[in-house]
Amino acid sequence: MSAVSDVHEVRLRVNGVERVAHAPARRLLSDFIRYDLGLTGTHVGCEHGVCGACTILLGGEPVRSCLMFAVQADGAEIETIEGLASGPDDLHPVQQAFWEHHGLQCGFCTPGMVLTAKALLEHNPDPTEADVRKAIAGNICRCTGYVFIVDAIRAAAGIGRERDGA
């Protein structure tokens, strides 16, 4: 640890589990999640808040973890991609839909994209195509051209309804 900046205890709930680690003030939340918490599913693409690869859910809402310092998350509740499912038989409807609709290619944007979609569907269970595109406009994908991602998210809305027996 650097002698220049102070070190803070960061205590937070991650995917429902309480975690504690220490970090200097300047440690970005994205790096904290990846290195200090060992959750490497959250990815880093730009570190200036444009690409969305680092998206996590803070209090259920998508935020760019590269634009927060770890210390800001002390006392917070966050969700990362690792919290959605624990294996191929237990996928969240969004993950299931992305799989069926080929909504990913290299997979680097996928965690951020999936979490953003999850939050969207919790607010808006039946989004139009335009709603979906607006919701994910801040998540860059270089591989898919977004076509199958949009299909997947709309399909996920349907899968969600099916599972809920609606």
């Binding site: 990846r34 290195y35 599913g41 444009v50 690409c51 191929p88 994908c141 051209g145």
Partner: protein
Amino acid sequence: MPEGVAPRLLGARVKRREDPRFLTGRARFVDDIVKPQMLHAAFVRSSLAHAEIAAVDAARALTLPGVRAALTGADAARSAKPITCDSTFDSWQGTEYPALATERVLFVGQPIACVVAEDRYLAEDAVELVEVRYRELTPVTSIKDATAPGAPRLHSHWKDNYFIKRHLRAGDPDAAFARAAGVVELTTVSNRHSGIPLENRGCVAEFDADQTLTLWTSSQIPHLVRTGLADVLALPESNIRVVAPDVGGGFGIKAHLFPEEIAVCLLAMKTGQPVKWIEDRSEHLLASIHAREHHHQVKLAYAEDGELLALSGRIDVDCGAYSVYPFTATMDTGMALGILPGPYRIRNYECEAYSVATNKCPLGPYRGVSRPAAAFTIERAVDEVAHALGMDPVEVRRRNLVAPEEFPYESITGLVYDSGSFVESLDKLLADSRYEELRRQQQAARAEGRFLGLGIAMYTEQTAHTTTEFAKRGVPIIFGYDSAIVRMDPSGRVNVRVSTHSHGQGHETTMAQIVADSLTLPLDHVRVTFGDTDSTPYGHGTFASRSAVLAGGACARAAETIRGLLIRFAAERLEAAEADLELAQGSVRVKGSPAIGVTISELARLAHHRPETLPDGMEPLLEAVSTYDADPGTGTFANAAQLAFIEVDIETGGIKLLGYWVVEDCGQMINPLIVDGQVHGGVAQGIGGALMEELVYDEDGQLRTTTFMDYLLPGATDIPRIEVSHLSTPSPFTIAGIKGMGEGGAIAPGPAIASALVDALGPLGHAVVDELPLTRERVRRFIEAARADGKAHA
């Protein structure tokens, strides 16, 4: 495909086997690799475009707590040769691209020194404390400046600033121009941009006690990186292991050996600890690989009836400061020279092509390479012919597209278009897009004072070219094949290891489809791996739309060998003739008597555990390694036609995409879902390059676009729904008639959108849209040009 085997999976829309780990955040990208005692690297990079380095002093940096070591150019030069990659052409002038600059820097962002520390934060602090003194030299920042008489030479042993000069002449262009009814003269500029994968470059190097160097690196070409490292580090290749883990997009950018990779290896060797370097986005924009900066001047001669008679021109590619490994600085230039006539029957041709050196980041291949620029030029020129003659651009195309009965067609540049559906794809595009309906919408909008436009662009794309083609191109390593090992284990399941590297293309699924079909196994009994030079056969990696054909072909051949072994063994066990046996549903059985057979899993068990049961002369194990070079090695040509439907806001210059249609033909598809995904992604990148992506240097050679605030990427509200339909004209040359197609989507959006803009401005007049990307400022310029012309056209 083997005879008598009806494919179940070839051509099937199967969901991808690799997805679960990506969906659940359990993939393993290079930054996810953590090793004990690992140090983190950061680079000191040149702040000037052209300068001599007077001094580099890392003393202050090394005093920071947590900073472990530093490497300067002088240090690196003691242990590593610079990267060289030389063409075999006569006019070639080569470069030496050092891991860390020694005497001179030739572009802003070029690595000068490297520091390692306990974390990246500290390493960046240390970088700020490294002092570099420069003696500034005049930067050369454009083709015009580089080729002007008396221009400063970037490389002191060169006689000018040209990497290479090419010239091709075929047919009788002079006579053709002489008899032409008219000549379109066009100058086009495709501005610099790049692939911008979402995952930046990065690597982890470890040098262990056995003197083995392991490099994990986000790369498309692990074997070639290994070969390159062996050369520059003077280490035996067998002492080097390169592992490309999951890679977050490449698009050609990560198909290079980088100076940073070498520096990181040297630091691992120096410190005795693993060293990780993950570049940040500014480094990526400054110093990875740039692409697509082409300046073309062409003349297209035409007859009264729209027949294209001759094409002449000059191609200049701004290749930046160094020749890149493994492609050389000739790749864009040579390819443009060969493909400029496009899918058209042009029989008279003369063209000069130049790779020019400038004080910019080196240029390398990016999805489509020079085809986006070449298609932009020929498609715009063809449209201008149509305009000059008052003909429909669709009609001019129809007259000149290579027709079905002409395949295989040898182009005037010596490329063999093996098969294609040029005319059919154009017709289908008009039908699928409901072209007449779009024209009606355009008319209705015009009545309301809105400017909608339609534009069509077409291309044919050389894919899976191998020995013959690369030998012609004069590259030092001929990418003539790729390879596969198919290994059946004692349980009868199969592991396939390929020399290519998937970074989004779904090879864990597509290669498994091929092998599973051949061995009549369920898809999930076949596991595909790649990326580790220790366990995969040597090959070239994934680029140039080659993997489906070449890795697919190698997989098919290796699987065929295993089939042969299984049949031979079964013949012995069943006391039948091999010719009477077939594979079906995981068994080898007698044709016509399906009850008489033995399961593959049983054969596999016996072959490993009961060798005494094997036929005489047959060895235990069921493993085969094959390579594949698709004869005749000149590649197989995919093609597509694309249509862009746009609205232009003529007051602001903003362009909105209302719709996009593609008809593509890649012969036999392995997995249509994956093909569609590749088309969508390519088109989206093409749209980015057509509308907003540009790497801008100022006259001092400073890059203005060093973050995503300035280098804009299209998001989900910028890309419309992309409708894709397919034709299938199999290749007569490749296994199963498969053609490559990964790059194609990116080729046509530039010309399609440019054409749509011209069409949209029709009521104002005619504008010659000759530059990309179509930023607001450029669109306003073209609007003014249309108004100045003032001759409204329908």
